[in-house]
């Protein structure tokens, strides 16, 4: 699996070591003044525009963008590449919702808070199950990507590379909370942008569009086919998968709560615009593989293999740094946001309703450590390829789009509608995943969920926004 490794293991360990020390030090330094639970979980609710755009972008540029976008391009061609870039629509459409969230729940902590107060406890529990499952899937895909990347580039065994990446991200998230996550995201965004653009330019310069096109036409004509059926089906599927991920996930809600008033709308809009071209550039790298005669043992390794073959040691280091930054920026975010969800919605919501802030802060640390350990253990099993693992969760998250959107903006719809939309949508998405393919699971899930939530518009508006007032006025952030 690593016959094409271009980075000596010794060099790879030096890079890993240097970045690990850097991230942990930054995490510790940024987190040294965290005095309250609100500081730790939501960075004091005063994140400004620059950091807000950087964290939204860096978190959405994941290992999935830098490794799965090339994979899908290699498998589904031009439309696979374009389809992946439509993931930006999720950020763009979340912009108005981020403003609404900050307005409705200035003292809120999690997306679970909103679902419970808006739709009741049954919908809340279904939502938590979906959200936790998704977060775990995302964490595992990140851990796997780390192991695969290090193995592909340097030959270091998968288990070692994955272990180091998961351990380092867990460590600095524990030290610094959301401040550390956002602070490191800023640096990681710069590394990712510079690295991805450099790689794209170098690929075009070294191989050339004409050579890439000629080889694909000769050897893999369907990758250039604008009417490739699976790719056409995938286009909107990926869009709704991305929308579902962002609308429901506490990763994005926690940022909406953490951004200073007035920042969320502009930050998400700007991040979406800047994110859009990144999968296209990353995907382009994969299309050069046939022209270079590279064997691709596993499609999720295509980007590192191309960079390594084309640019040798320099390319290997460049990809390594980019994907390491992308991995870390997402892994820390998901760890922190999932920990928030577990602390507030499961530990306080179900187990210890009377827990103090001090107790919750301690619980948050242990939960981050536990999540890190769980991610490590499940990543070790290598359940599936990155793409299939990721899109499996699409069947679940796309079912939450309509309950979230309707619930935030309209007084219509109740817990029965929301619960049915999520359960039936997820079931339909799963059925489509197994009977047709991963490229329709989110689309079918979102379609069924939409049909169910449409029933809410046949009834009179019934929800009273004042039900959220208690949460808005609580000084401790308790959502009673």
């Amino acid at each position: 699996m690593n016959a094409n490794a271009v980075l000596p293991a010794h060099d790879a360990w030096i890079i890993i070591g240097a970045f690990s020390v850097l991230w942990v030090l930054i995490g510790w330094w940024l987190g040294r003044n965290n005095n309250s639970l609100e500081d730790y979980m939501l960075a004091g609710r005063k994140v400004g525009m620059g950091f807000a755009v950087a964290t939204a972008m860096a978190t959405w540029v994941t290992s999935n963008t830098t490794m799965t976008a090339p994979q899908l391009t290699y498998q589904l061609g031009i439309w696979g590449m374009v389809g992946y870039s439509l993931g930006a629509v999720g950020l763009l459409l979340f912009a108005p919702l981020a403003r609404r969230i900050r307005t409705l729940m200035p003292q809120g902590y999690t997306s679970g808070d909103f679902i419970r107060l808006r739709y009741g406890r049954t919908a809340w529990r279904v939502f938590l199950a979906i959200s936790f499952f998704y977060s775990l899937g995302w964490l595992i895909s990140l851990g796997m990507a780390g192991g695969l990347l290090i193995n592909a580039l340097s030959g270091i065994p998968y288990a070692y590379g994955m272990t180091v990446i998961v351990a380092i991200c867990t460590l600095y998230t524990v030290f610094g909370g959301l401040k550390a996550v956002i602070g490191t995201d800023f640096i990681q965004t710069i590394l990712i942008l510079v690295g991805v653009v450099a790689l794209g330019v170098l690929v075009v310069d070294k191989v050339g569009f004409d050579t890439i096109h000629a080889t694909l036409s000769e050897e893999r004509p369907e990758l250039l086919n604008m009417l490739l059926p699976a790719s056409i089906m995938f286009l909107f599927n990926n869009l709704f998968f991305g929308v579902g991920e962002i609308f429901h996930s506490n990763v994005w809600w926690s940022r909406a709560f953490a951004f200073a008033p007035g920042v969320g709308f502009r930050a998400y809009l700007t991040a979406g615009v800047f994110w859009l071209p990144i999968p296209i550039v990353a995907g382009l790298i994969a299309l050069a593989a046939p022209a270079l005669g590279i064997n691709v043992p596993s499609p999720d390794m295509v980007a590192p293999l191309v960079a390594g073959k084309l640019f040798g040691l320099f390319g290997g280091i460049l990809v390594f740094v980019v994907v390491f930054a992308a991995l870390a920026s997402s892994l820390d975010s998901v760890l922190a946001a999932t920990s928030d969800l577990i602390v507030k919605d499961i530990y306080k919501g179900h187990i210890r309703p009377a827990a103090s802030d001090r107790e919750l802060r301690t619980a948050a640390v242990w939960i981050i450590l536990g999540l890190g350990a769980m991610t490590w253990a499940l990543s070790l099993m290598r359940l599936a390829t990155l793409g299939s693992l990721l899109h499996f969760t699409g069947a679940f998250v796309a079912s939450t789009i309509w309950p979230i959107a309707v619930g935030l903006l309209y007084k219509r719809g109740n817990g029965v509608h929301a619960t049915a939309a999520m359960v039936l949508g997820s079931a339909g998405g799963l059925a489509a995943y197994f009977t047709i393919g991963f490229y329709v699971a989110a689309l079918v899930s979102a379609g069924i969920s939409m049909a169910v939530m449409a029933l809410a518009f046949l009834q009179r508006p019934s929800f009273d926004w004042a039900n959220l007032t208690a949460a808005r006025q609580s000084s401790t952030g308790d959502m009673s």
Binding site: P96, T103, L216
Partner: protein, 139 residues
């Protein structure tokens, strides 16, 4: 509940490779999308030769130490492969049949997606406009 979910995830995502003959397996099955990953993880040897039968003769499509290869961009049709290890005799042949989804189905999903996106945008724009000027006070 979590355990059940994890078990389901394990069962559903760890797709069992489809075996064709004794040497090659289909590690990632995308035959209806024009791609497939062929693997030979259990074959003894250090150097492998994978060939495809085309135009009345066998053509090399991979030679080296890897234990899998991903084919993509395949058009509808039947493909035949064979593998040999360390210069030995080729293993059994196997056929891979690629059959893309019908375009009518593809455009059905495409149309549904486009309509859903339009509905979502209208829902968000209309809803957000209703709350413009709320300034933190739920109406």
């Amino acid at each position: 509940m979590l355990f059940r979910i994890l078990m389901l995830m394990t069962v559903f995502t760890a797709s069992a490779p489809l075996a064709f003959g004794q040497t090659l397996t289909l590690a990632d099955d995308g035959r209806s999308a024009g791609y497939a990953t062929l693997a030979w993880a259990a074959v003894d040897g250090n150097s492998f030769l994978l060939e495809e039968y085309e135009g009345d003769e066998w053509h090399t499509i991979y030679e080296g130490g890897d234990r899998a290869t991903t084919l993509s961009g395949l058009v509808d049709g039947s493909y035949r492969f064979r593998l040999s290890a360390d210069g030995g005799a080729p293993g059994p042949e196997f056929d891979l049949t690629v059959a893309h989804h019908p375009l009518s189905r593809a455009f059905g999903f495409f149309g549904a997606g486009a309509v859903m996106l339009a509905v979502l945008i209208v829902l968000l724009v209309v809803g957000a406009r209703r709350h413009e000027g709320d300034e933190g006070e739920p109406s």
